[in-house]
Symmetry: D3
Subunit: 307 residues, 6 copies
């Protein structure tokens, strides 16, 4: 059933007589055969995919975050006189690197002809959103400070809170997603997912003053819509209820299948909210609640009071 038995029965461990050099050559050649078959299967033989690099995008996002918050996320000795030069130089470098990655995605997606011009235009439009992103993040940081009794200062929140890290990545990724490079956006989202355990699909729309506390295990789906002043705790899922299939048996992709959460809603740890339902404004969803239907504004849902 698994690869295990095959390994255990493998007689080569006891009697190892094949020459090692042949062996590496043999493995290289086997891997090439599998690779070529896979490329052929995907109609990519002769033009293997060159995808955006996660490593480069991680650097880009770190640089953008430092340009957005130079005093708190920038280098240690930054002085007042040097700060605009730092911001300008960091943006210039990061946007150039981002353009390279965007170009890769556009080429990979088949738009070869004017990938270069498109990439520049797209990144320019992205750059123009940065002040708006900073303003939204300021509202998020304030929401975290006000929403957590353990928070001692606004600055602590920016430096420490994984929820803020996740939202910085999301607000950047969401703009890129909307501008037409969903793979680049997704890689940025997964960088945050890996760092924080918070998994927000870049397609999700999230309003100002958003706060996720603790955060590990939070999942927010592609078509979720979240209003202003919403607060989530760890392990909350805003997911899809079911995955309709097409007649061919393949999943229908892209339909609206995740919840709408209106302004001023709080969702406590472990709650699971599934499907294209609406959580009315001002509602509170208790810990571990399992919810698959819409609720009106100002509802208070709690788990069965059996404990």
């Amino acid at each position: 059933m698994s690869g295990k038995n095959k390994v255990l029965k493998n007689p080569t461990i006891g009697a190892m007589s094949i020459d090692v050099a042949q062996e590496i050559g043999h493995i290289v050649s086997q891997l090439r055969d599998i690779r070529d078959a896979s490329l052929e299967h995907r109609n990519r033989l002769g033009r293997p995919p060159k995808l955006p690099s996660r490593k480069v995008l991680a650097t880009v996002v770190d640089a953008l975050a430092a340009a957005l918050f130079p005093n708190r996320l920038g280098p240690a000795g930054l002085t007042e006189e040097g700060i605009d030069y730092f911001v300008g130089h960091t943006l210039d470098t990061a946007l150039r690197d981002l353009t390279d990655q965007v170009r890769r995605e556009l080429k990979f997606a088949g738009e070869q002809a004017d990938a270069d011009i498109q990439a520049r235009t797209l990144v320019r439009a992205f750059a123009a959103e940065l002040p708006q992103i900073r303003s939204l993040l300021d509202s998020d940081v304030l929401a975290a400070y006000e929403g957590d009794p353990a928070a001692r200062s606004i600055d602590e929140v920016l430096v420490c809170y994984p929820g803020i890290t996740a939202v910085i990545h999301h607000r950047i990724a969401h703009v890129l997603h909307c501008l037409g490079v969903p793979l680049t956006a997704r890689i940025i989202a997964e960088i945050a997912h890996s760092e924080t355990g918070i998994d927000i699909h870049p397609g999700a729309e999230i309003g100002e003053s958003f706060f996720i506390d603790h955060g590990t295990g939070v999942v927010i789906g592609e078509t979720a819509v979240i209003g202003k002043h919403v607060r989530l705790y760890q392990a909350v899922t805003l997911g899809a209820k079911r995955f309709p299939k097409e007649e061919s048996g393949t999943l229908v992709k892209g339909n609206l299948r995740h919840p709408i959460v209106e302004d001023d809603v709080v969702v406590y740890a472990g709650a699971t909210i599934l499907g294209r339902i609406t959580i009315g404004r001002g509602s509170t969803i208790g810990g571990n609640v399992w919810l698959t239907h819409s609720i009106p504004p100002d509802s208070h849902i709690v788990q069965n009071p059996h404990s």
Copy 2:
């Protein structure tokens, strides 16, 4: 409701005529305006916050861990004759770097006058706790070995288990928290949170022989108190039940709001324990249990037996 619509309607993508150099200059200037407004709002104009560096603190904790366990977490070729020199040099360097970070926090907190002397005194007191920290960690490692049927050796536990990584960070962070640098402590806690998915507030008091298995999603709040020989599984929450607000509407900060878990308690995966309640010694809390009231010693709580 979100930033998306704004982007999609942004007409600049089609007609991009502004000179790029002007654009970067424009963005730099917009970001400065937002930054200055934010600094003014926080009464920090002219003295922007210089916070402890997460990157430096990560290095400090790695160095301290290597000094505490040089054979297993130190460099590869360490010899018996060189081990004390390694420990001494590593401590000397790590404590100096820690002093820099502590000084930053003290200055940030407004204690400018004798921040330097205070930082040295504080780190000296911290250093004096290191042997005690090592002894506690030895008890934790042993508890992990004894508590997990899959553990094959004590050394494996130290190198592999995310629960141990989290506890190394916590025991260091907790001493710093008690000594008066809660931001430094919190950053260290979040480094562990990011690596392990285990979120322990540095304020939590945890006794010897503590073991968290698997660990992803565990949350332990600021005022939690945990006795000796306690064992937790993944996704356990020791949280607050509610967040009382002051008359002004802001959250009350710092009150005792998390559980007390007495000696020899086991809490299975996904259990949620909320509020300043007491779990009596020797109790067992079953998986996914939701618990908001105190229970006497030797209690055995399980989820509704509906499955």
Copy 3:
């Protein structure tokens, strides 16, 4: 009860008169005493453990992944003519580094005599499995693409999905586990756990076309057996129900205590499946379900329908 009180009462903070140099010397000497006591306790005085290095193994796995998928996980500018040289050189280097780590584990485990030859033989057997690992991973990537409505291309899946990262690590770790280096295997599993929040014990047997979506909080135990075309969501546990103790009071190690999940099963987010039970082929387990008994093929289990 905790280290906190001790620290707070520590009188050294107020009156710090001891010379600092003496202090570091004192701490070094205290740490040595504790270390020697610990080594003696483990019968390792004079031969402290030299364990495999997590850092080196992380590099090895990254290199193996790049050799398995050079176009998508290899370096940026790789050309068609250079690809086999890249694969061959990367394998040669990674396997040599792996041999060093395997040798360490064998020596640590007490097999000093022919550790060198054993390590080479073992790594050769491991290398021979690489083409098979690649084929299994191709099936996993395809399963992810087909199982997630948000996936836009097979290549996106390989680069982005944490479930794929976890499975790459698992398939490598599992072969090493079966070949007799469980500690090396475990460290590799924990590297993935830290990156993805997905905790798969290297002993678990997993069939082809396996897909974990989102993934944070998933735990799969040592003796779990998973068939083909199985799909899991975040926070699913395939765990042990209880931990039998030997007469001496120590836990029984190594017995079959985790579930068997047959082909074509889907387990939704947060479900907890415990004990050596069997989930019959084609079954669906709903979100948050708590399951401790076997179910026949094609079962559909859902949580209490109270929502």
Copy 4:
């Protein structure tokens, strides 16, 4: 006469009232003015020169040297089975990086149209010469071993001797010079000059079995021609006698103005040989000799015997 006086009289040191931020801005602006004036002067305003990178070329030459002599100049642990993969992968990478640098030079030289194709063609031709370069270098290493009484082995010579380092760089640079990228070639020559104090213009033609002992201060001019089995010591100059000017007063560039040194000649330390003269085969030139006329074969020239 120098910048000193200006600095000493600079009144700004005593009375420093200008705001620092303005100052950096002022310097940046002054530097821009000078830069623009300089670009305008060179007719490069709007297309500033992008030159080959010394840092990248240093990496390329190190990689080529490792590919030519993998056992002695390659990485430490190279095994017999992996050696061809190392050579192939190193060549593939180094030649790709070299192509980038060559493309820059071609573009800088004004050949914009098909710079990319030309660069590839040129580097392909360069690569085809590598086996010939290795053979020549083998003859040089042997000559060094046979020519120095202090040499204990052929391998020592390759690893230690600055003369060999210089010749490795030269033989690579010379082929590039002949193929039409003199700037790239010159940068490589200057890398060797900096490391060894030996300054060989890449235009110089040098036959097999060439040896320079000690080497510091050796200068070999652009149009020098050196036969087989020639040996030079430190501080030898093969230079130009005079620099004829054109009517406009500018130096005539590129004429044949350096010596021809025939086969089997030895030139001892500090000798200066100037102009398009011929040193006949088998001749010996003594230390510190100053020579500006041709000499027949088998001549033995020594300094005035005044000491």
Copy 5:
């Protein structure tokens, strides 16, 4: 007479019975005794010298050179719009690092009280000279291009010529020397000496349009004064004739003891010019000439015509 005999007779190699750990401890303790004796001898016991760092200064000079010539010595992808941000940020960082090093020298020189303010003032004065330094260097680059028949472009000269590297370092070091940090200046000069073999004391005053060809072995003394449009070749010495001693027998330090070279002088390779003599404007000094007396303008000195 040397350390050799002692080593060869050392009986410890044959009979090595001392414990190694003791040995390292013994060496550490011996080195401490020698160190303390040396510090005591220099009246520095208790305040060991903290000198400027060569490594940091090398970085500072590289950054300043990139800020002065961003297109040719800056990073690869620099765009027109980003260039001033690069220059400003690079200056800001480099000047801050330079301030740290200058502060160290001032403290080392005994000026403890206001070392910080002095360092800032001094570096500000230095920064104000940068545009002037760039202008001088432009004249030097042009002189190199016009003076070397092998030079193909002005840009090649800047990137390749060791003489230019040496002059960039010198012009920076000279301003620092004049401003009162001779040790910092000297370290910068030695960085160039190591890279190029050209040894220019930072005290030397050098006019515009200065060119050194090849350069290895050039030595220019502390009190040398060089006019405009001067050209030197390799191994030229502008040195002191004798070193007068004070009555106490120690050397007199700081007197004017090196040559004055007036405008438009050319000095060919290997010429040695010693003492406070004057080389009249427009003169030519032939190769290997040894000169210890002043000569009038337009002199042409050649070596004895014995060859």
Copy 6:
């Protein structure tokens, strides 16, 4: 006569039809053939030479220098209390790395059997010489300070002077040479040669208080013997007069062929002293002097007074 013509006539540049992949494969295969022929020629087929690494040895020497002079050549923030730990840890690491390199040389030299024990014994003997090396270097630094009118402090000399860099390397290399690892010693000497332009064979015996000023171009041969308080200037050669050949025509290796320079001798710039002659104590050799016979004590030799 040179490789040039071959390249220029190479027809492949015009008509490039061969597939590139074949080409790299072809070059790899050609290089293998040449390599195998070369190994066969040196009787090393099947056991290619693994030589000491220049890069590692450079690190070792830097570490030893920092351990010898921790305040001036060690890391920036070193504190009094940490200094012995730094020295001990740095020595422990550097000596371990040195042992690896020594082992390589012993194995390369054919002593396979007990290379490991020999390497440890040898490095232990080397380590025991370190205090003596430090004392000699202290005398050298003092000699430099007293011998150069431009030197302002003893500390400046240690940090700046290339002559001191060269002597640090030499005193380390000489002990290793005497202990039986001449290749390791030679590589260390060449590291200094590359940095300083000063070429001292590790076999040369040099007494205390040795000073080389400026230094570029100095060459000191293998069998030279230099007394106490000797001072050399740039471009001085202490070389061999002739190279006697054996009957077979190969050079005689290892005979005494370089000068003996007695105590208190000064040799000015550019002087050339050749052969096994003796320069009597207290003598002065003028600049550019060419000397091939012994001279009695207190001689003063100057160049022909033609200038």
